[in-house]
Amino acid sequence: MEVTAQESGQEKDAETWTEVITPRTNLLDLRLGEVWKYRDLLWLFVRRDFIAQYKQTILGPIWHLIQPLFTTLIFLFLFGRIANIPTDGIQPTLFYMSGITIWNYFSACLTSTSNTFLSNANIFGKVYFPRLVLPISIILSNIVRFGIQFGLLIVMMIWFQFHGYPIHLTIYWFFIPLLVVLMAGIGLGLGIIISSLTTKYRDLVILLGFAVQLGMYATPIAYPLSFLQNRGYARLIAANPLSPVVECFKYCLFGKGTFTLGSLTYSVTFMFVVLFLGSIIFNKVEKNFMDTV
């Protein structure tokens, strides 16, 4: 295409440049199209996360199974034997394992996305690619991990099928993917908010470490929500937007769980709010974070 001198007015200018870098852009412009353009990178990041984590280990991805198995054993002992907390009539092993599986997914999403800026500062400082690719890749690579752990849960369910606990196969199983998306959304939203803030305030990294740990006890993982009925702090636990998700997850699997459509709507709304806030803050920070990180 030829550009003649007469044509080079303002409008022509805007047409010929493929990219214009300016100080500020629209806060709500997430440039998801650009993320799509980099989908190969997204996929390679997922692969990298997965492969690199278990390089030079003997057991490799089997570690994904060992961790929930041992946590379940501890829970069986601690909450089942010592504290004698009921499990809603669900087989205790399956009860704990299902809770741990969905919680693991959430906590992994949250902790790794919250590190996006800090741990990738060296890459971000050198080349440009849509920053959102990284947190999204983390969510995806954790889905693989979740899948493996969920597979283990299914195997355990089949095993218990022959030991007096029949599998509760219902239409509700189809809702499980939606619950996973809900968990991922909340994890991603909170994660990117934290990651954006940690570029300035590193305190949050330390805070998050034990907040996630404590969060597990504020979510009905090791105990059913029904166990708390008629207790003062039941409301507090119910106010946790993750509680309905976990309870619903257990309901889908075993047919037992305490949640209402209202409480689930609350969780969904919460997800959209944190995702919305998160993307605004992320968008604002990603531009100049190299100057403050």
Partner: protein, 428 residues
């Protein structure tokens, strides 16, 4: 006339030295408390020693100020300037790792930056996996990388190691592979920052050649930042000289290099007045004067000869003191490294020593040179070293009808002898 591919308009980038929102909450609160009591910001003092603060009055630093330039398609542009002149900031903005405070950059085409090779290389992944990952980070599609994979491995010469984790690579192999990926990017605009510092001479040549390919034959644009004037000269057609965040010169590359080096020549003569303790040096040595002047005439030329003179204060008595002069040309080639023994029987005295050295005419070729000074004890231990202390230029002098600068590091007077015998054809 070729099209413009980059247009930079009134580009400025400001960095905050203090101000609310740069530290942790405790800093912010402390700053606020000082502010309430009407005191100065306690965290601003950190920035005071920064060279450039004198221009921005404390609170802000303009790393770039009102930069305007255009780059045309197929040009190879070298950006030169001293440390802190804003080169890296400019590259950061061009490669979009940070955004400008003011102004605009308009770009046409795909940009790939090589601010440091091997970005995103994961040590535990194999060479093959890293090629794909790195390629994707730099903006390539998977299919593109696949098509060029063999070429990249071939270029890097690491075929045998391609399935070994890159952490087992030698640093040279690592860089070669990384550069191989970047060199096969096929961007419209390639931004390169000092990558040639690594790798052996052969590989450096290969890189320069590849970059020359990119800019020359394929009609792509290269932006190259380097302190290596020889590489800039070899690779670039246009030079931009930056100084204190502004563009000082923009034009033909040789002129730009000359401009830059002449700019540094301001300190071709050093003299310290005032307290000795504030002169450059340390507890052993203080340099009070160093001058480079022609033996005859007013300017230093190829035929003038050179006299250099140093006056320094020695503060370490009863040692064997020596001073070494090291001369380098603008390509960082050492011309000589020559010492003068000041005292040889442990009898150096406290006080002012003056040493003069003379270079006969017709030794140095025309060009820019710089002196490094090394003060030593027992010709072994360094008392004080100051690198690139004084720069000076040797002007060319035309011989006969040839007025251009002749190639070569030195320009010696050579005595030729010539004889002639006729009739040789008849002998054969």
């Amino acid at each position: 006339m070729s099209e413009k591919v980059i247009k930079v308009e009134n580009l400025s980038k400001q960095y905050r030295l203090g101000d609310i929102g740069t530290g942790t909450i405790s800093h912010d609160l402390n700053r606020w408390w000082y502010n309430v009591r009407g005191l100065e910001d306690p965290y601003l003092k950190i920035g005071e020693e920064n060279d450039r603060t004198t221009r921005g009055i404390n609170k802000y630093i303009w790393a770039l100020q009102d930069i305007n330039f255009e780059i045309k398609e197929g040009e190879a542009v070298g950006i030169i300037g001293r440390n802190g002149a804003g080169k890296s900031t400019l590259l950061k903005l061009l490669s979009r790792t940070t955004t400008p405070t003011k102004g605009k950059i308009k770009i046409k085409g795909k940009v790939a930056s090589l601010l440091e090779v091997g970005t995103g290389f994961h040590p535990d992944l194999s060479g093959r996996e890293n090629v794909f990952l790195n390629g994707a980070i730099l903006g390539m599609r998977k299919q593109e990388i696949k098509n060029k994979f063999d070429e990249i491995v071939d270029f890097a010469g690491v075929e045998r190691y391609i399935d070994t984790p890159v952490k087992r690579y030698s640093s040279g192999m690592y860089v070669r592979l990384a550069f191989g990926v970047a060199a096969h990017l096929d961007p419209d605009i390639l931004i390169v920052d000092e990558v040639l510092a690594v790798g052996d001479a052969e590989f450096q040549k290969k890189c320069l050649g590849k970059m020359k390919d990119v800019s020359g034959r394929q009609g792509r644009t290269v932006i190259f930042v380097s302190h290596n004037m020889a590489a800039v000269k070899k690779l670039c057609t246009v030079g931009i000289v930056m100084r204190f965040g502004k563009i000082d010169f923009n034009g033909e590359v040789q002129t730009a290099i000359n401009y830059y080096q002449k700019d540094q020549n301001i300190n071709s003569r050093f003299e310290h007045f005032g307290e000795v303790i504030k002169a450059p040096g340390n507890e052993n040595i203080r340099i009070l004067k160093f001058t480079v002047s022609p033996l005859k005439g007013e300017t230093i030329t190829v035929s003038s000869g050179i006299e250099f003179e140093i006056a320094f204060y020695n503060n370490k008595a009863n040692i064997n003191l020596d001073v070494t002069f090291e001369l380098k040309n603008s390509d960082e080639v050492v011309i000589f490294h020559h010492g003068k023994i000041v005292s040889n029987s442990k009898d150096a005295k406290l006080g002012l020593y003056t040493v003069k050295g003379r270079l006969t005419p017709f030794v140095l070729n025309a060009g820019n040179y710089q002196f490094t000074l090394i003060f030593g004890e027992d010709q072994r231990y360094s008392l004080f070293t100051i690198a690139d202390f004084i720069q000076f230029e040797v002007m060319n002098e035309s011989i006969g009808s040839n007025s251009s600068i002749l190639p070569g590091i030195i320009r010696l007077p050579i005595e030729y002898e010539q004889s002639f015998q006729a009739d040789i054809a008849n002998v054969i």
